[in-house]
């Protein structure tokens, strides 16, 4: 029957069969590696844990939720994504990470899609109708493209092969991801795709995720803010940093004055003892 074990294993207890090539943990890790949508690096990490001799499943890897979430962020941020933390103490309890990735790999990735093979605009075309009137229709027939094309030829050195223009289109908007997560995305597409492809959402790639600013959290952190028409919040916050800098300068002055007075005291003491010439 189809559900039976293979012939060499029939009649044997399952303990007596050939040993499994992996331990249970290793098997889980490999399964994760191949079958799930976990990232490659996370799978590697899990495999490393499982292959470690000191690994004991009873031992908890993470003692609390915060370290777990930190590790998850460390492991699950996709490859090539860099983060800048714009958070300052006066912002209170909020996350102001700015995640971004490089632009050039995105452009290369868009240009590597074979769907666009016959639909890319690589040079300017001047289109006229029968009466000789210029028609502006597709992206590469317009004024912008003409001008950019001419500039590219001029700046590209004027070699035998023409220099192509890759027009970059940027866009920002606030949307909602997974029904409850507000994200403020920064999208990029290239204009040399055909007009049909440019409007497809799959051809707009996300370069960055701009951080939200939570006013309430900053207010709870006692950020100074006076009046409805005050200077922008970030200004006040950085202004606070500036004030702190000033106060530290003042402290330094105090310390300097203290040192000077100590010096005076010491020198007076030294003058009082004529035999010691070291301090004069």
């Amino acid at each position: 029957m189809s559900g039976d074990p293979p012939e060499e294993f029939q009649g044997l207890h399952w303990h007596d069969r050939e040993t499994c090539p992996f331990s249970r943990e290793e098997g889980e890790a490999f399964f994760t590696y191949t079958e799930s949508d976990m990232s490659r690096r996370a799978g590697d990490n899990m495999l490393q844990w499982a292959c470690n001799v000191a690994y004991k499943p009873g031992r908890l890897r993470f003692r609390n939720v915060r370290s777990l979430s930190l590790a998850v962020r460390r492991h699950y941020v996709p490859e090539g994504v860099k983060g800048i933390n714009f958070h300052e103490p006066l912002d209170g309890h909020q996350n102001l990470m700015f995640y971004h990735r490089d632009l050039l790999p995105l452009i290369k990735r868009l240009l590597s899609r074979p769907t666009f093979a016959n639909n890319t605009y690589t040079r300017f075309r001047l289109v006229r109708d029968r009466e000789g009137i210029r028609i502006i229709g597709a992206f590469n027939t317009g004024d912008w493209y003409e001008f950019a094309h001419v500039v590219a030829q001029k700046k590209g050195g004027g070699g035998p092969s023409p220099v192509t223009v890759v027009p970059l289109l940027c866009s920002t908007d606030a949307t909602v991801a997974r029904k409850n997560m507000p994200v403020y995305v920064f999208l990029v597409s290239i204009g040399c795709l055909g007009d049909r492809h440019r409007s497809e959402p799959g051809n707009w790639l996300m370069v960055a995720c701009l951080p939200h600013y939570n006013d309430q959290a900053a207010k709870n952190a006692h950020r100074p803010d006076r009046g409805p028409l005050s200077i922008p919040r970030r200004k006040v916050r950085s202004a606070r940093a500036f004030e702190l800098m000033r106060s530290s300068v003042t402290l330094m002055h105090v310390y300097k004055g203290f040192a000077q007075s100590m010096h005076q005291v010491c020198s007076r003491f030294d003058h009082g003892s004529p035999g010691d010439a070291r301090w004069s």
Partner: protein
């Protein structure tokens, strides 16, 4: 708003780095071509345009139409230039000069250039004058037509005017004076030419 521009500035620096020279790209048809990456447009709805321009919503992002005549659909006004806005904002923020003034600066400078302590990126730090007199900022902002005194990230975009949304050659002469702008980007003494005026090429 400043946070947004701090973030977008990172991307714009990246873009400027790419667009400096023509790069060799493989196109979808398998042919390698030398290509210039140039910014062609910024597609956003009105709130986002306000934010990217650091402006009020009561102002046209393209032309110099006053607020009480915004309802006239066929009146043509002069186009606004991002370079002029940049110059006015920088002069007001760092020199204390309001637009239209020719004499000595009428107020103390409101900002000075600093470095963000964490991200190590250039940032405008308010001076004591800006902090002590809260209405001074608003008065300055009103004199500038509602533009916030924030370093706009799109000012630094190469080949691109963020208000006219057209191709611009060269960059403002004002930017070359500031310490934090990349010096190879800026070409002082060149006037921007739009897509309509191609005479400067010949």
């Amino acid at each position: 708003m400043e946070l947004t521009h701090l973030g977008v500035a990172v991307i714009m620096d990246d873009y400027n780095e790419i667009g400096k020279t023509p790069i060799r790209l493989r196109f979808p048809d398998g042919i390698y071509r030398k290509a210039y990456v140039m910014m062609a447009g910024w597609i956003a709805d009105q709130q986002e345009q306000d934010k990217m321009g650091a402006e009020t919503s009561q102002r046209c992002k393209q032309c110099k139409c006053p607020k009480d005549r915004l309802h006239e659909p066929h009146t043509v006004w002069e186009r606004r230039k991002g370079r002029d806005v940049e110059r006015a904002v920088r002069r007001a923020a760092f020199e204390g000069r309001l637009p239209g003034e020719r004499g000595l600066p009428s107020m103390p400078p409101l900002f000075k250039l600093g470095t963000d302590p964490k991200s190590k990126r250039p940032r405008w730090m308010p001076t004591a004058a800006c902090l002590q007199n809260q209405t001074l900022y608003e008065k300055t902002r009103k004199a500038l037509g509602g533009v916030h005194l924030v370093e706009n990230a799109l000012w630094r975009a190469r080949h691109y005017d963020y208000l006219m949304q057209v191709h611009v050659e060269g960059q403002s002469s004002y930017q070359s004076k500031s310490a934090h702008s990349e010096s190879p980007l800026s070409r002082p003494g060149r006037t921007p030419c739009t897509a309509m005026s191609t005479e400067s090429l010949s």
